[in-house]
Subunit: 362 residues, 2 copies
Amino acid sequence: MAHDHEPAKPHRITISTVAAALGVAVSTVSNAYNRPDQLSAELRERVLAVATELGYPGPNPVARSLRQQRAGAVGVLFAERLPYAFRDPAVLMVLEGIATTLEQAGLGLLLVPGRDDDTTTVQQALVDGFIVYSMMETDPLVQAALKRRLPTVLLDQPPRPDVPSIIVDDEAGARMATEHLLSLGHRQFAIITDRLVETNLRPSSAPINVHDQSKPTFFVTQLRLQGYRQPLEAAGIDWRSVPIYDCNDNNEADGAAAIQILLAHNPRPTAILCLTDRLALGAIAGAQQAGYQVPQQLSIVGFDDIPQASQSVPSLTTIRQDHRQKGLSAGQALIELLAGQSPTSYQRLAVELVVRDSTAAI
Amino acid sequence: MAHDHEPAKPHRITISTVAAALGVAVSTVSNAYNRPDQLSAELRERVLAVATELGYPGPNPVARSLRQQRAGAVGVLFAERLPYAFRDPAVLMVLEGIATTLEQAGLGLLLVPGRDDDTTTVQQALVDGFIVYSMMETDPLVQAALKRRLPTVLLDQPPRPDVPSIIVDDEAGARMATEHLLSLGHRQFAIITDRLVETNLRPSSAPINVHDQSKPTFFVTQLRLQGYRQPLEAAGIDWRSVPIYDCNDNNEADGAAAIQILLAHNPRPTAILCLTDRLALGAIAGAQQAGYQVPQQLSIVGFDDIPQASQSVPSLTTIRQDHRQKGLSAGQALIELLAGQSPTSYQRLAVELVVRDSTAAI
DNA sequence: CTATACTTCTGAATCGTTACAGAAAAAACG
DNA sequence: CGTTTTTTCTGTAACGATTCAGAAGTATAG
């Protein structure tokens, strides 16, 4: 045997290769791996020995999954190109929460790539369920995921019947931010958002009026804008007069660029509501660069309370939400769903105003 | 019993349910989904219509995977508990690089959870290949992954024959850091590392001498320590006299704690070599807190050049490596492997000394 | 009108397991 | 020593698709 010429059998080694080599039934080999109590220890060892000798890589997980009707992984759908997920601090905290619960349940976390024209990746993802996180409701990937009819949890998405949703009280948060600024005496507001209008539809880089568009946008964006609007109008400020600058992307550089334009606006705003902390941190930097004092001349409020918010100079007044908890709740809900239980179909997480040094009385 | 009406059979809807409903062959239904050119447009539409009417979720991906012998996803194995991966800036850049290449190839990224005693998650992961990143070589998860005999790429791991490896020239980087400090005239060195000794084996929290252990540790840890040692010995400094503080974890708090102990050491070190930027940033903060001036009284060098390194005060002198490129290369190599090509079996990425403000002449 | 070439559709084999009912062998029992 | 129980092992039917050779039917050509 040792001197045999390698016939280089390109044939695949499966459970039945091993069974044949030993002259036992395939079910015996299967049992050797999965039910040690179903065969004698002696035979089991022989099976395992022959298996390694033949280079058998162990039971094929795909075949096992087919038979057992479970994939052992959960798919996460996310609005952005995959790599972006690893760059945004808020997103990362959410993913961390999701990962924590999944790990405890022994489930893998599959990040599904999304070229939005092509839904095959979603259709073919080997998962037991989905967490759909902050996608445009109209995104074909969302439709594709729902069509799979797998246990699914929506996170930062417009709720749908029959699908558990976890959302944050973004609207209340935005109200709190606005009321805070109003209470400081501000009357001239401006807003920095991102991707209010899809990039390819965007008319120009100038601030746009929110009324000019009712295109699809992100759910949380809608909620936050609505939360800004209400107290402003209650304070007698014309919503249509509030300039809104729509960035291409959620990052500091875009926030810095936005503030330049808004500071040139007449009347010059004294209070800036930013839809995210990253935009707000960029706005602070941009304003300072342009020679403005924050908060003496300009108050800026963010949203999310990412770790960097407390590090900046001045530190950022913002709305705190528990990102990690958001992920934990989503993961938990999905795990319950997978276990055949029915989790609360709608969870709303609270937010909190964190007053720091980027806001001051006018 | 009398009025026991049959509730609609909760029977699963498969391709053959649809075929039966239409009175066509299953292969026809399959073709309707996968080979539109193989049947008339009219029939195809009828198939699809009936399918949605029956609530058919589309071809089962697991069955398809079994037949087609591909999972459409790549597994990433990482040393830490899953959630940690989302917290470490350096790791995130690597993951971003990996995700970028995988997305382009339309592959999913499966984060495999690792309870180290239990390898079933690795054995059962539905993937076409693995990227093994910065794991202890002795970790059973690594063994389990290799046993799968899938295309695999090693990243920051000791190279193995027949498995493409991508590593960073950590040793050279550590040498550069050390030589930089030596050239500034430093003679009293100390080192801050983490997890040199497994947590449960750790004797105490006091600095330990590296000679006292030859336990398994991380590959890059070994390389970096070796890189520190060589120039020190060349400069006539007794390696055994260099205190090494071994933290429980790679984070700022542990770095800050470590520096307190080291500053109490006699003779007091003037130059601190940190195995990571996070430890170094913690060390700077800790030293300042204890009333020491960095770099006037104490020079500190990090490793990795994470984004935060340039933001700290003083900014951190460190060794830069291209984390994103590391991920890109690993992803690329794996994709080539999956395509049946054979990528270069060994890639070593260069590093670079970045001198900032945390180091000065003694 | 026959021969040839397309279209359109079908049937059976295959992917690699696990689950389950039951056969064979061994052990325990009265 | 026959009978029952327990331990081991086996054979086969799912699991849900895709693939591919070829059957029927239809159009094109000669």
